[in-house]
Every structure is written in structure tokens, then in C-alpha cells.
């Protein structure tokens, strides 16, 4: 039920982003048969990879034979449109990418780049995963995370608020309370 007359599956896009970084490990693992098969099994039809400064180039595929439609690009000035049209986002652990995705209300799997020195990025990803706003996965087990994820169990993220900071700054400088 819910499928169009001609039997084609509704388009469900998985958008992968590495931001401005180089994260070949993630791009490679997403392009692996294991992960692509799992995504197909979970009902996704398209895989779009924003590969950033990486050197590993994914293999494009049109998905005519029932396989996943795979496409990629390096950068774009704004990924907001890609995020908006995605049904699932798989992202590196940069705070910009994470919050842009959460604020659009999209389901998110964050993959931490273990090759980065002083990996403070994992703190944020783990904290938000603990609070059930996203899934956190290591590249090697990404396919398992995709297989086992229950996106309905994710809690929506309420946007942050900078007014407490502004209040304290104003009070410190001696401005009257508004």
C-alpha cells in the first residue's frame, strides 16, 4: 500500500556529508556493498554523498536494476536543500552539520572520525546520542546501526537559545533589565 501505480518505490534519499573535512573512511564504508544493501533493505532508494576534501571517489550508479541510486559531489555553498530532501542523514561529527540537520528535524546517524587528533568531536555526538536525538556509529559497524535503528524512537531536538547569555552580558555591563 502507498506505492504509486507503476510499481516504482517512493524516492527516499540518504544524504551523507563530511562537511569541509576529508573523511575517506566514511565515504568508503557508505559506498560498500554491505551498507548499500542494508539501506536498500530499509527502503531507501537514493544515496547522495557529499565527499568534501576526500580522495576516495564513490561509484555512481543509476539504480535501474533495483540497486541503490548512488551519486556524489565534493562541496556546495549550502547543503540545506540536500538536508531538506533527505529521509536519512549520515554525517561526520562536526557541530555545524549536526545542528543544521537536527534543526531541520531529520533523522541523523553521526559517524566520528577516529583518525582526528584530539577527538573532542565524539563528546558532542555521544552526548546527543545519550539524549536520543541521533544515532552514533563507528564506521565499521555502520551497517549494523542502519539495520537496527528505530527512527521513531529518536527525540526531536529543540533549537537552542542565546538569550540567557545576552541577559548575563547585559546585566554585567550595567544595562537595565528589559
Amino acid at each position: 500500500m502507498g506505492e504509486p501505480e507503476d510499481g516504482a518505490k517512493p524516492k527516499r534519499v540518504v544524504f551523507v556529508t563530511v562537511g569541509t573535512t576529508c573523511f575517506d573512511v566514511l565515504v568508503k564504508v557508505v559506498d560498500s556493498q554491505e551498507v548499500k544493501d542494508e539501506l536498500l533493505r530499509r527502503g531507501y532508494t537514493h544515496l547522495l554523498i557529499q565527499m568534501g576534501r576526500g580522495s576516495y571517489v564513490p561509484t555512481k550508479s543509476t539504480g535501474d536494476d533495483g540497486s541503490l541510486d548512488v551519486d556524489y559531489f565534493t562541496f556546495s555553498s549550502s547543503i540545506a536543500d540536500h538536508l531538506r530532501s533527505a529521509s536519512l542523514v549520515i554525517s561526520h561529527a562536526g557541530s555545524g552539520s549536526i545542528f543544521e540537520t537536527l534543526q531541520l528535524g531529520k533523522p541523523l546517524i553521526v559517524v566520528v572520525n577516529e583518525d582526528l587528533m584530539d577527538n573532542h568531536q565524539s563528546e558532542l555526538a555521544e552526548e546527543l546520542a545519550d539524549r536520543k536525538h541521533l544515532y552514533c556509529a563507528r564506521p565499521q559497524i555502520l551497517h549494523q546501526t542502519i539495520a537496527g535503528m528505530d527512527l521513531k524512537s529518536l527525540l526531536p531536538y529543540s533549537p537552542g537559545d542565546a538569550t540567557p547569555v545576552a541577559k548575563l552580558i547585559n546585566r554585567f555591563l550595567g544595562f537595565p533589565e528589559d
Binding site: 558532542l124 542565546a162 548575563l168 546585566r171 550595567g174 537595565p176
Partner: protein, 233 residues
Amino acid sequence: MEKCNGVCFTNLSSNHPITCFMAFTTIMLFRVLYVIYRTGMPLGKRATPQSFSTLIVLGSGGHTAEMINLLLVLQKDRFTPRFYIAAATDNMSLQKALVLDNSFAASSGFKGISAEFMQIYRSREVGQSYVTSVWTTLVAIAHAFWLMIKIRPQVVLCNGPGTCIPLCVIAFFFKVAGIRWSSIFYVESIARVKRLSLSGLLLYKLRIADQFFVQWPQLQRKYPRAHYVGCLM
């Protein structure tokens, strides 16, 4: 008698520079202690509204996004003129700041110039050798000093990038030297949940920041002088 006087006079003249130096050092020490004591004390309530010249330090990516979120909720007429500084190799941040500040001017109908945008040399690029970094750090500090002398801000807003350290240290020096008393506000990045960044650690431990804000409760427990303000993003 004369000999004694001569000898005495020679002793005094050779001690004079030393006593001067020691007097100067003692004065500076007391001045530094006074500045540390006054740092973090709110300024008095102002009867008449005032505006503060504000230095805004931008960093790449997430830092700039968080700073923009903060600027959106500050009354622009209280923080003017505004000076935006970003690292020389960071092109996107100044662009975003320009767009943001133009939107402030447009919405308030203000026609004059209330913002300036500057770039500062980086102390060290990613992967740069530590030997050459010594020189580039000195150049960065000299450049920061030059910019700060021109700006002499009354308020400094920063949120983590390494570029803010020379600027904040110089602001502290200006307080000690009586060149300009500035209020330094530091917001630790939202990506810092359990540990402070190096910039944050320095500004907290050395008590350079007047107010230190953290976005996660774990950090407030670890660093009690910090204010927990929740997530900005």
C-alpha cells in the same frame, strides 16, 4: 670625607637602576593583582544608556555559527561600533559577518558605518612545524597588538578559536597598563561537553575572561566559576 662621599655616591648610582626596576616590578605586580581582582566584577549600573565598542572574534565553521546566534539576540545599539576579526586564512567567516551586520544596519535604518572587518595572522597553521611556529606566533602577537591598539575595544566577545588568545591576552595587558578597561566574555563551544578547549582552559585558569559561559552542565560542575547557559544552537 670626600673619598667616603665619592664611594657612597658610586654605590648609590650603581643601585639606582636596580631599585627603579624593583619598584617598577612591584607596582606592575600589584597592578596585575588588582586587575585580576576586578576582573569578573560587574560594571556599575548606568543611569544613562551607553554603547560599548565591541570586538567580535570569529573562528571557522561552528564557531561563527554560534557567534551569529549570540549576536542576533544582542541589542545592536548597545554594542557599537563593532569590529569583526577572523583568521587570515578564513574567508567564509568574515563574509557571513558582513551579511549579518548589513542586515542589522538595514533593519535599524542606520546609514552610517558601525562595523569594521579585519583579518589577523594565524599563530600556527595546521601541520606547521613547531620551529617556524615560534616566529609566526610572534608575528601574530605583534599583528594582534597593532590591531588592538587601533580598536581598543570596551567589550570582547569570543567563543573558542585560537585567534582569540593573543587578542584576549593583549586586552588583559591593556587593563594592567591602563590603556583600556575591557569586559571579556567567552562562550565555550557547544562541541565542548566534558572538557574545555585549550583557549577556554587558558582564559578560565588565568582569570582573563570577565565572564565565562559553558553550554553543558557537566562543564559547569567541573569549572564552578563558569556560568551554565544551555545550548546556543
